[in-house]
Symmetry: C2
Subunit: 185 residues, 2 copies
Amino acid sequence: MANPKATPQRSDWQRNHERLVATAAALVAREGAQVSLEEIAREAGVGSATLHRHFASRQALLEEVFRDEVERLRLRARELAAGDPRTGLVTWLEELTISAVNTRGLPASLAAGAGAGPSAGDTCHAVMREATVTLTDRALAAAAVRPGVSPDDLLALVEAVAQATEGDPPTALRLLGLALDGIRP
Amino acid sequence: MANPKATPQRSDWQRNHERLVATAAALVAREGAQVSLEEIAREAGVGSATLHRHFASRQALLEEVFRDEVERLRLRARELAAGDPRTGLVTWLEELTISAVNTRGLPASLAAGAGAGPSAGDTCHAVMREATVTLTDRALAAAAVRPGVSPDDLLALVEAVAQATEGDPPTALRLLGLALDGIRP
DNA sequence: CCAACATATGGGGTGGCCCTCCGGTTGTCC
DNA sequence: GGACAACCGGAGGGCCACCCCATATGTTGG
């Protein structure tokens, strides 16, 4: 289902693909991650069969919808990896939380990827995980956080908080703060 | 929709009601909180209309399914309120987390009640909230936790963790531990 | 420029879900 | 044991995910 660059699809394929992702982005932002797939297809002006042919699952569609935002976060993590290890990690977790809470459907998409193990490397969750591992390891190495803290646990916590407080950034940050006070050395 | 003791329902009503709750409990335990309501009705041997007449919503049905477990937890909180304030609160949060993670569908049910405000006083969430408020206030009064900690935040965190780690108690407790280390004075 | 063909499309069908209406049934109370 | 309110469940409407296959359309070699 993914698009191997080796065999470029027909132009209408690409057109419909972009249409679908754009429409999905708009509808997910307005109605959440569980929008009707048929509505997306209808709004995009294609048959529902086409949507299913382009995306094997709702999750596959969401992965593409959030690709840009995830990329933005990935680059941000790169930046943060250049500064202070402690504040870098904390800022990363905060910004990730804010993004997830403010981006309708993202928490669901991240959580969905979490259970899948390390199978597919390009899921939203996998990218966020790699960033979190890097920043956590740096903080651990600098003794900036209590030893034994696991990046997977941190990410799981952020995802849990984001999913539970979708649309309410202040609460999300309060809950995250509660948790973060536990990582002092 | 609740059963005011003043006008006892007909015997078949009561029979079907118990059947439905029992069947729902079994199916929710096996398949999770989003089981098909029609399947519950089918398995219970009643028409789907009857199920909808007895329970205005899926949530209403779940509330009854979990009534016993919630009552057990409530009594447990009472016990804990007699001991050390610090360990009482911590133990409560841990046991609540364990129960929620091990009881399929409970996290969803708790979370669903969370957004509803203080309208209905007998929801699962409301009961757990009252217990958590009591124990947290005690701990705050004894300066056993950092001031400013909110029982609602603690409960929200437990519910978030429980929902995100449903069926995986070790992870749930690790995440809770991460958060709990933040409540030292 | 055009034919032939792989690639892609979408209407319509299947089966499932939630929820409601309404004709029929069953407890209950006098 | 009859009358009446309470209760039941099959059937149907609206919506959804997913799939099949006859049709259309980009693409490419002559």
